[in-house]
């Protein structure tokens, strides 16, 4: 069982940072609806506030790591230009997709959409983390503000979903591969 370094980075970016962000996003929305839907005066309120703050900061970190690794580590491998006369385009995913009318859409729609819309997620979730960090339970007094935060979080989750879906499909049709090979287990 082997994996290339480029394949490993794609895994870290997509299934690590991106996948965890998507999983965490639904949890954050549930917690925000639960918390601000009812007036809660439990003794554990402070601890719960701290948990949500840390949770949203962790989500923001995941979103930033996902877009930064995607943009500056994986995307350059994806868009690499093959030397003149190259026939085998398997090391050049963008060119491979564009070489066939059956796959060009994955680049023209998928990657073109993903590469921009994904960046909305870290902006939105960083804002959400900052607002919840600033107001804590006091956000209960600011209904419009709270709704805005939740709306931006929904958009961030949708943006991450679009990026995740197209990332998976792009990698299925034209995998980002190459670099040193890492042997995970010896053959059986």
């Amino acid at each position: 069982m082997e994996i290339t370094t480029r394949g490993l980075w794609t895994l870290i970016h997509g299934m690590g940072f991106g996948g965890l962000y998507l999983l965490a996003g639904s949890g954050a929305l549930v917690e925000l609806y639960r918390r601000y839907g009812n007036r809660v005066n439990s003794s554990g309120a402070d601890q719960s506030d701290r948990f949500l703050r840390v949770y949203l900061i962790a989500m923001a970190a995941l979103a930033w790591l996902a877009v930064l690794t995607g943009t500056y580590i994986i995307y350059p491998w994806y868009r690499a230009t093959p030397p003149a006369g190259t026939v085998d385009l398997h090391g050049f995913p963008q060119r491979l997709l564009m070489a066939s009318p059956q796959t060009v859409g994955w680049h023209a729609l998928g990657m073109e959409w993903k590469e921009h819309v994904a960046w909305l997620a870290p902006i939105a979730v960083t804002m959400a983390a900052a607002v919840v960090g600033q107001y804590g339970r006091g956000l209960q007094e600011h209904k419009a503000l709270r709704r805005a935060v939740i709306c931006f979080l929904w958009v961030s989750l949708a943006a991450a979903g679009v990026a995740g879906f197209f990332g998976a499909m792009l990698n299925k049709n034209a995998p980002v591969e190459g670099g040193a090979t890492i042997r995970l287990t010896a053959g059986g």
Binding site: H116, V117, L120, I123, Q134, L145
Partner: protein
Amino acid sequence: MQDSGLRIHLAASATGGENANGAGAAAVLAAGIGCFVLGALAVLADKSTAVKNRMIFSRPTGPLSGVTTLAIAAWLLAWMVLHLCWRRKEIALGPALGAAFVLLALSLLLAFPPLADWL
């Protein structure tokens, strides 16, 4: 006595203190601005070769590096300015949040390739 109570109330409205809505509104509106700048720059870089070339901050990543870097810079700058102006104030949330939603919606449209190509 009643007069001084009224004065305190009015002062609290103008400068709402720690729990004033200004800081939150600044964060939300700035996020809307950042998202919109991202979408607008993406379209501009797609439509104009001159803009596209200027957006290449990192050659391996290409124009995406400049588009995202400038959008993040615009977002943070807008956040800083709005925060400094509104942080202790109670502001009318309607226009600020309305503008943020419009900008967010526009950014989603601009980031969608078929619509961006149509422009």
